[in-house]
Symmetry: C2
Subunit: 188 residues, 2 copies
């Protein structure tokens, strides 16, 4: 089962040796739709790779719940503060469909980072890819109107548009659900 991961671009850069070292610590888990696998305000001990399914990260505000990230198969999934600062996180991560994930304990992963140069660089690449994607979203907010953001999201993530509730997509795009509905309506 875990061997499937080997085909994900994320892992293809690893040598066979490093892949075996890493995968030795990985365990396949499956959860039903609706499961929350990362809780805010907790130090979460696992780093996950989504093998199949859809996930979202969100923050519970006073009057609102803001979704700020979606993951599809191949995505990495972890509590930022737990992973980066070993402190409680701010985000919840919920599975929007039945999902299969591979996970590794952060303590094991951190040991590998201190032992294996390839894996350390693999971890660096993960952070860098997330970084450039996040910065791009921040910049898109400045340059593109809400309608353009929606249409591009729909074009680039057809699976998500089909299967994710619009209220979640609205907050992901940085608008209210009413505004998103207007954008969609303007198309007909």
């Amino acid at each position: 089962m875990i061997e499937q991961l080997r085909d994900i671009p994320l892992f293809s850069a690893l040598s066979n040796d490093s892949w075996h070292e890493l995968s030795h610590y990985m365990v396949l888990v499956q959860y039903p739709k609706g499961t929350t696998i990362i809780y805010a305000d907790k130090v979460e001990p696992y780093f996950y790779i989504l093998q199949s399914g859809i996930a979202r990260a969100y923050i519970d505000g006073e009057n609102q719940q803001i979704t700020f990230w979606f993951g599809e198969s191949g995505a990495v999934l972890f509590s930022f503060n737990s992973y980066i600062n070993n402190s409680p996180g701010y985000e919840n991560i919920e599975l929007l469909t039945n999902s299969a994930l591979t996970r590794i304990k952060l303590t094991d992963l951190f040991l590998l980072y201190q032992q294996n140069l390839e894996i350390a660089n693999w971890g660096r690449k993960i952070a860098e890819q997330e970084l450039i994607a996040t910065e791009r979203r921040l910049i898109d907010r400045a340059f593109k109107g809400a309608a353009a953001r929606y249409h591009e999201f729909a074009a680039q993530s057809p699976e998500l548009i089909k299967r994710v509730a619009l209220k979640h997509i609205a907050s992901y795009l940085g608008v209210t659900q009413v505004t998103l509905s207007r954008i969609r309506g303007a198309y007909k």
Copy 2:
């Protein structure tokens, strides 16, 4: 001169050996206010650490120039796409004051990443810190109004408020200069 860097938190995690290996490739450079050190649409060959001064990263749009990052001393500074994807960047980086920087060629840095485990993990930490900071800004846009973002920015970055043109701060905060002016006016 370069020894000063050793005190920056960014470098304090490195062992003496790794520090010497890294600093061997680093060169101190100084530029006057107004110098652009990273150009959009170019593959930029250097990774910089800002030793003193203030820098901003911006994108030239059709009608607007959007500043999306500020750096003060200790900040790392590079073309994201050059560094991460070895392809031309989207951002310009300009020095807003006379500045001293230390730089290392990306080719040298990448070699070190492949040779030295500590330096590879140091590079991982850099990306992770930038990542968490960028995500926090994206989330702040959703939860905080423009006025709150301004007041918090002013509180956390007193140097920048003092020395950076408000038009740059406005786009950094995600509002027009007129709106920023209204926010500031509302305080008196």
